[in-house]
């Protein structure tokens, strides 16, 4: 029952929205917004097993590689920057500088250093989705309760222990917010990176559909991106629940008890 109800709340709104889309688009003559029925047919025709293997899988691999790298670098650098006021003052303008540069403009520069292979695509993903992780980590680390920090200091909890046992757990709710943000940005950058020098991938395929005016297929690709984002966010939520159990308990609406 509980599971059913939970599943119900998950699918209720999407179902309504899709139903609305279906009805509203039913008679659409517009080339660029075809009826949903057509898109769904295209979905079935397009995303067959071999296509998934040939296009979706490589994309996912690049996505995971980029996301994990971004998470590692983002949290690592974020802790260092958050803990050290001077370092923060020094590097923040530089980071802000790079953060404001649009990835499509940056790709050519990355190509100069990373070539045009998977390395380039992973770099682009890292470069785009590291920011929410970095920023949230920095802010989370800055916000660690002063009494907690003083406790750690007074008991000689220093060095790595201070970071792993005190700073990171304390900042983890905000880091989780950054990781969550980054997940969907990583998907977006996966698409953008595949607009350059790619020969397979989900993003590549969608762009090809767009260019060759295969509009229902393009929409089906967008839906697939959405599903992908949703699926990954479920996985993320599971991991988050485990890692932040203490936090959810601490913050749980006590009334529900």
């Amino acid at each position: 029952m509980g599971v059913l109800k939970r599943a119900g709340t998950v699918v209720a709104l999407p179902l309504i929205l899709f139903a609305g889309w279906y009805v509203l688009s039913a008679g659409s003559e517009n080339f660029y917004s075809p009826p949903l029925s057509k898109i769904l047919t295209a979905f079935g025709d397009t995303w067959q097993l071999d296509r998934i293997r040939a296009d979706v899988l490589p994309s996912l691999l690049r996505l995971f590689a980029g996301y994990l790298l971004a998470a590692l670098i983002g949290v690592g650098a974020g802790v260092a920057i958050g803990l050290n006021r001077r370092l923060r003052a020094t590097v923040e303008p530089v980071l802000e500088f790079f953060r404001a540069i649009p990835p499509p403009v940056l790709v050519p520069v990355i190509m100069l250093f990373a070539g045009i292979g998977n390395g380039m695509k992973v770099t682009v993903i890292v470069f785009g989705c590291i920011w929410p992780i970095l920023l949230n980590t920095v802010e989370g680390v800055r916000a660690v309760d002063s009494v907690v920090l003083e406790t750690a200091r007074s008991y000689g909890v220093n060095g790595t222990a201070r970071i792993t046992h005190v700073v990171l757990p304390s900042a983890s709710p905000q880091i989780a917010a950054g990781l969550r943000q980054a997940l969907s940005i990583a998907i977006i950058l996966m698409v953008i990176s595949e607009m350059f020098a790619a020969s397979n991938g989900l993003g590549f395929t969608i762009v090809q559909f767009q260019r060759s005016f295969a509009i229902p297929e393009m929409w089906s690709g967008i839906i697939l991106l959405g599903l992908l984002g949703f699926g990954l966010s479920l996985l993320f939520r599971l991991a988050e629940r485990r890692a932040l159990r203490w936090y959810e308990g601490l913050r749980a609406a006590q009334r529900a008890g």
Partner: protein, 299 residues
């Protein structure tokens, strides 16, 4: 108001018209025509909207947000097979038809072992768009030279990135157009083949188009646009120095490069025979999902 007629009719009966173009050499005539008043003379107030490619131009034209657009023929043919209601209203740009003196070519690095088109077989070649005019043309070049066109490995990347990619050896050859063609040659690159020339003599590469709806709603406007466009094309074709000058206004190509560019041809006539060849080649390469109907696309 942008009523069904498309284009806003202002005072004095001047139709305000937007045209989606790409900031490259090919569209110099329309800028020149605008400067010379060929459009104003026909009561057309012209606004040129610069976009990066068809993905942004075609939807604008279909929804009448922009009234005309510029696109290469392969893209237009693909759109036609998909049932987009587009119609060509004027020629866009054409190959010079002279091997070695065209505005588009396959190039390699100066010290590359690739010497002839036949050597391109099995190589990694960059094109700006996959499954489009670039790979059709390059394949045909290889085919004509006796190589295996299927063995080529095409990589998609924007033209401006090609000089660096070629230089760094990321690709072994690049299919480029001006001004990158001149840039690469100036950096020591070698031209292997003028691919457009290999497709068909005097190939019409691109065209100006509009939506069928606008033709139905405001045939007069379309007619005037076509006339103005044709006048512009003819003028540009015969005044290369003015073309080189106008390039300085809407592009950032530096003066030296502007002086040395190979200019394309701008005939007012669309070379239908060359397009038939283009269709045949495209079908051979599996670019189209159906058979394009040229008659439906051409005026």
């Amino acid at each position: 108001s942008s009523d069904s007629g498309g284009g806003t009719t202002g005072e004095g009966g001047v139709d305000q018209v937007k045209v989606g173009v790409i900031p490259i050499v090919d569209v110099a005539p329309i800028y020149l025509g605008q400067q010379k008043g060929f459009f104003k003379n026909r009561n057309i107030g012209l606004t040129l909207e610069v976009a990066s490619g068809g993905a942004a131009i075609v939807p604008g034209v279909t929804s009448n947000e922009t009234q005309f657009g510029f696109s290469n023929f392969t893209s237009l043919l693909i759109a036609q097979t998909k049932g987009l209601p587009l119609k060509v209203v004027a020629a866009g740009v054409a190959s010079t038809g002279e091997a070695g003196k065209d505005f588009g070519a396959v190039v390699v690095k100066g010290d590359s072992p690739i010497k002839t088109p036949k050597d391109l077989a099995g190589k990694k070649i960059s094109v700006n768009t996959l499954k489009n005019i670039g790979d059709t043309a390059t394949r045909e070049t290889i085919r004509k030279a006796g190589g295996d066109p299927a063995s080529v490995n095409f990589v998609e990347m924007p033209f401006p990135n090609m000089p660096a990619a070629l230089d760094k050896g990321e690709v072994e050859a690049a299919w480029v157009v001006e001004p990158q063609l001149s840039t690469i040659k100036a950096a020591g690159g070698r031209e292997i083949a003028s691919t457009y020339v290999d497709v068909a003599p005097n190939l019409t590469v691109a065209a100006y188009f509009t939506s069928q709806k606008l033709i139905a709603d405001n045939p007069d406007l379309v007619k005037r646009f076509t006339e103005a466009m044709n006048e512009s094309l003819t003028y540009a074709d015969s005044h290369p120095d003015e073309v080189r000058a106008i390039l300085g206004t809407y592009t950032k190509i530096d003066e030296k490069l502007r002086a040395s560019l190979v200019l394309p041809k701008w005939p007012a006539q669309i070379n239908e025979a060359s397009l038939q060849t283009l269709i045949a080649l495209g079908e051979k390469d599996g670019i189209f999902s159906g058979t394009p109907d040229l008659a439906k696309l051409l005026p």
